[in-house]
């Protein structure tokens, strides 16, 4: 198969958005009769690569060839007619049309200038029978389950394009039986000679169905390997970007002999469908690291700890007293703070000034009737602009005009202004420049030394190792392990993640 010419071949693909590199010289090969897994954390460049291949974006550099002929699809329709079809996670069909109309949308057979619905129904039945699906094709698509819609979408894509099929997280909302059915169809299509690109973050599914995987990280190609010879831990290390062999630095060194008192304890706290019950204790002067792959339940855990969702099991104790957290407001009153992962959606108030963004949480806690005077707000803003080195021309500038790193510092300042006892940071260094990155890490270390309790979610392992006292490992929406002392190392974390992901597969298979 290696000698065979690739069906789809991309060399040196690059894509830039306003000076940000989303894809950096990525090579990608897809063979006929192959299911090729495409993996990477959020923001690794998977969807950019797909969009460049399908013509949704125009590439800025590199070349693509299909069947040996160079192609440059102008748009998705163009890519479809060349033979590249895509099925997205949210199925891109119209639920208010019938199954048959969806299959033939935009290419309906005409009779006397009118849509020949008898013909499309007949053809649709034939096509879907090829997928083992005998349903009433004249019924509205919305009357069928997501799994059926998924198959209809695949059938449409294959019928139109027929060479390359791209599936973007097709299994995210399917149950086990539906996944089995989908995989049977994929194996069948593979036998018919299609090349299939399969994007997912479920490890067990990758090992079940894929022949090869390509891993992206930060817009770069990490590697492309046949799956037979690839160990789980190697795959984890490819995704998280650290060589297994590299020397152990051992500089995690936050001595844990002197343990501060427990600030908050979460006992068997969980919420059905989001995160399995877990125990966590956070102590003064400690950073609790939280590690796990995408979708492992990291953010879900933080949301329970900050009262964004109320747990349906377990108990929360603050300073040894039993309590509950009904809302973020509640949590803030108890001295908690939370820097969310999605800074734009959940963090910044983009039209308001840096000053107002910094004062917001403190003002909200004081209540509307006790306003911070303008002078107090100014002093607060100036203090944090200086302390955190926030680069802004002045404190009245709307926060949307600041860079990502400076926006993140403003959000941190917002919480520091409330003088929290326990601060949760969700991916505090994602998407920010190198300088701000280092400053935020230093800040975490300082806050910890001053006696604050912190919980930091991060997919940057070196970073976690640098400041975390303990690291909690999550997989498949469960807390599976906690590493402490000598075990807190990038290798240790990766091993723990790989072991956990392996366990889950074992269960799924048995």
């Amino acid at each position: 198969m290696a000698a065979e010419r690739a069906l789809l071949e991309a060399r040196g693909l690059s894509k830039y958005f306003h000076g940000v590199t989303a894809l950096d010289g990525v090579d990608f090969d897809l063979h006929a009769g192959e299911i090729h897994g495409l993996l990477g954390e959020n923001g690794a460049g998977k969807s950019t690569l797909i969009k460049v291949l399908t013509g949704a974006y125009r590439r800025d550099d590199g070349r693509v060839s299909l069947d040996g002929a160079p192609i440059d699809p102008r748009d998705v329709m163009d890519a479809q007619s060349l033979g590249i079809g895509t099925v997205y996670q949210e199925v891109n069909l119209l639920p208010n049309l019938t199954v048959a109309e969806n299959l033939f949308l935009g290419r309906e057979p005409k009779r006397f200038g009118l849509v020949d619905s008898r013909a499309i129904n007949k053809r649709s039945r034939e096509i879907l029978e090829g997928y083992g699906l005998s349903i009433d094709v004249s019924a509205l698509l919305s009357t069928y389950s997501v799994a059926v819609r998924q198959i209809v979408a695949i059938a449409r894509a294959v019928d139109i394009s027929g060479k390359v099929l791209i599936l973007d997280e097709p299994t995210a909302s399917l149950d086990a039986a539906e996944v089995d059915r989908l995989f049977a169809i994929l194996s069948d299509l593979k036998a018919r000679g299609l090349g299939i690109i399969f994007i997912t973050h479920f490890f067990d599914q990758v090992y079940r169905i894929c022949d090869r995987v390509t891993v992206l990280r930060n817009g770069r190609l990490v590697g492309s390997r046949p799956l037979e010879s690839l160990k789980r831990i190697e795959l984890v290390s490819m995704m998280l970007g650290r060589e297994l062999e590299s020397a152990e630095s051992g500089d995690h060194g936050r001595a844990s002999e002197v343990r501060g008192e427990v600030v908050a304890a979460f006992k068997k706290v969980g919420k059905k469908g989001r995160i399995a019950p877990f125990d966590i204790e956070v102590r003064r002067g400690e950073v609790l690291g939280i590690a796990g792959l995408l979708g492992s339940g990291r953010t879900e855990s933080a949301e329970l700890m900050f009262g964004i969702h109320e747990p349906d099991t377990g108990a929360i104790e603050i300073d040894g007293a039993k309590t509950s957290l009904g809302s973020p407001r509640d949590a803030i009153r108890k001295g908690f703070g939370f820097c969310p992962e999605d800074r734009k959606q959940d963090g910044i108030i983009d039209d308001l000034s840096v000053r107002e963004n910094i004062a917001l949480a403190l003002q909200a806690r004081r209540g509307w009737a006790k306003p911070l005077s303008r002078r107090e707000q100014d002093a607060l803003a100036d203090r944090y602009i200086e302390a955190l080195d926030i680069r802004t021309s002045d404190r009245e500038k709307p926060i949307k005009f600041l860079s990502g790193g400076n926006q993140q510092k403003v959000i941190l300042a917002r919480w520091l202004a409330t003088d929290p006892r326990f601060l949760i940071l969700d991916e505090p260094t994602r998407g920010i420049d190198v300088g701000a990155h280092a400053e935020i890490i230093r800040l975490i270390e300082e806050l910890c030394a001053e006696g604050m309790a912190l919980a930091v979610i991060s997919s940057e392992l070196e970073e976690l190792v640098a400041y975390a006292t303990r690291v909690r490992i999550l997989a498949d929406r469960q807390h599976v392990a906690e590493l402490e002392g000598e075990d807190v190392s990038a290798n240790g974390i990766m091993r723990a993640i790989a072991a956990a992901e392996g366990d889950n597969t074992g269960e799924a298979r048995s």
Binding site: F306, P328, I348, D351, Q363, A364, R366, W368
Partner: protein
């Protein structure tokens, strides 16, 4: 404070200029437009008339400004005016005293607002739909209260509150100015203004920062209902009766227009109550001006629409950018011309 006052005036410059132009046009059409006289214990004049007639829109615009600042909208205010007018008329004619009537009428407005606020804050219904419910149902409720007739009353107290004269000034003017002052000072001297803006710009981020988003939403819709109750009382007192079908009809749209003319974004966030009030006065000046002009009444709505389109076009960022561009081009063209002139002179020398 002085600096912020100046920057506020600067921001409102287009609105104030538009108002000035319309007033000047009115004066051109109707001689003696700016005359104000004092007779029979009250002020008379077209300007006083504009302030007086514009009271319902101004009152609604106060509440509407805050609702829109939270990225909401309140379509029900016209219907709430009808409900509250009907409530006031029904209570006063069935023998309740003036204080009880007023208290219950205001409470009715607040309850209407709380209903809207609850739909938006707790059920997460889009504001335009949530308030459409009461907009449609409200006139029906008002008709149930008046039992389908125009419920007239002759209580001098209630008539005074809604259309009397206090120290020479019509009560509607006193009411809207007092309420505008109270609300304006309350939002700027407490933290409400900033918290409302935060909710309007990014409700989820505000919630995650501990802002009591639900309470704030309830409060702004309740205030909008309260303002509508006062406007409804004024409308009822004006005709000494409650007309469930016509009281406040389409006024929600005038109020929204006033807010928009006032330079507030329908996308929420930064707001200016003064801007909305200037907007309300612009709308009323147009209405009064058209009446004074003596055009046949069938022209009124069309002329009003043309003027409003002109104001909004002048305010739009696109036309501002265009004007700025044209200005630069002209000034650079004149510079070029100025630069070319000496050239022949040099040649000559």
């Amino acid at each position: 404070m002085n600096a912020s006052l100046r920057s506020g005036l600067l921001r409102l410059a287009p609105q104030i200029a538009a108002l000035a132009v319309i007033l000047a046009l009115c004066a051109a059409i109707a001689p003696g437009f700016f005359d104000i006289s004092f007779a029979n214990g009250r002020l008379y004049g077209s300007l006083i008339d504009i302030l007086n007639r514009g009271a319902p829109t101004a009152l609604l615009a106060i509440g509407m400004t805050l609702v829109i600042a939270t990225k909401g909208i309140d379509l029900s205010v016209g219907a709430v005016m009808a409900i509250c007018g009907a409530t006031a008329a029904a209570l006063i004619t069935s023998g309740y005293g003036l204080p009880a009537t007023l208290a219950l009428t205001l409470a009715t407005g607040i309850v209407c607002g709380l209903w809207n606020g609850a739909l938006v804050a707790f059920l997460g219904i889009q504001p335009i739909i949530a308030t459409l419910i009461l907009m449609v149902a409200g006139r029906g409720i008002a008709q149930l209260i008046t039992e389908g007739v125009i419920l007239t009353f002759n209580d001098q107290g209630l008539i005074f509150v809604g259309s009397g004269i206090l120290f020479g000034v019509p009560m509607p003017v006193v009411l809207w100015i007092l309420i505008a002052l109270a609300v304006g000072l309350a939002v700027r001297f407490s933290a409400l203004g900033m918290l409302i803006e935060a909710v309007g710009v990014n409700r989820r981020a505000a919630y995650l920062s501990g802002v009591g988003t639900a309470g704030l939403l309830l409060a702004v819709y309740a205030l909008s209902g309260f303002c509508a109750a006062i406007a409804g009382t004024i409308a009822a007192a004006d005709i000494r009766g409650a007309d469930a079908n016509n009281a406040g009809l389409w006024l929600e749209l005038d109020a929204i227009l006033a807010v928009v003319i006032g330079g507030n974004s329908l996308l929420g966030g930064r707001f200016s109550i003064v801007g909305s009030l200037v907007g309300a006065m612009i709308i009323q000046s147009i209405n009064t001006g058209i009446l004074l002009s003596g055009y046949p009444p069938e022209f009124n709505l069309v002329i009003k629409a043309v003027i409003i389109v002109a104001i909004l076009v002048l305010q739009s960022p696109t036309s501002r950018a265009f004007l700025a561009f044209a200005w630069r081009k002209r000034s650079s063209a004149s510079q070029e011309a100025a630069g070319q002139q000496p050239a022949p002179g040099r040649q000559a020398s």
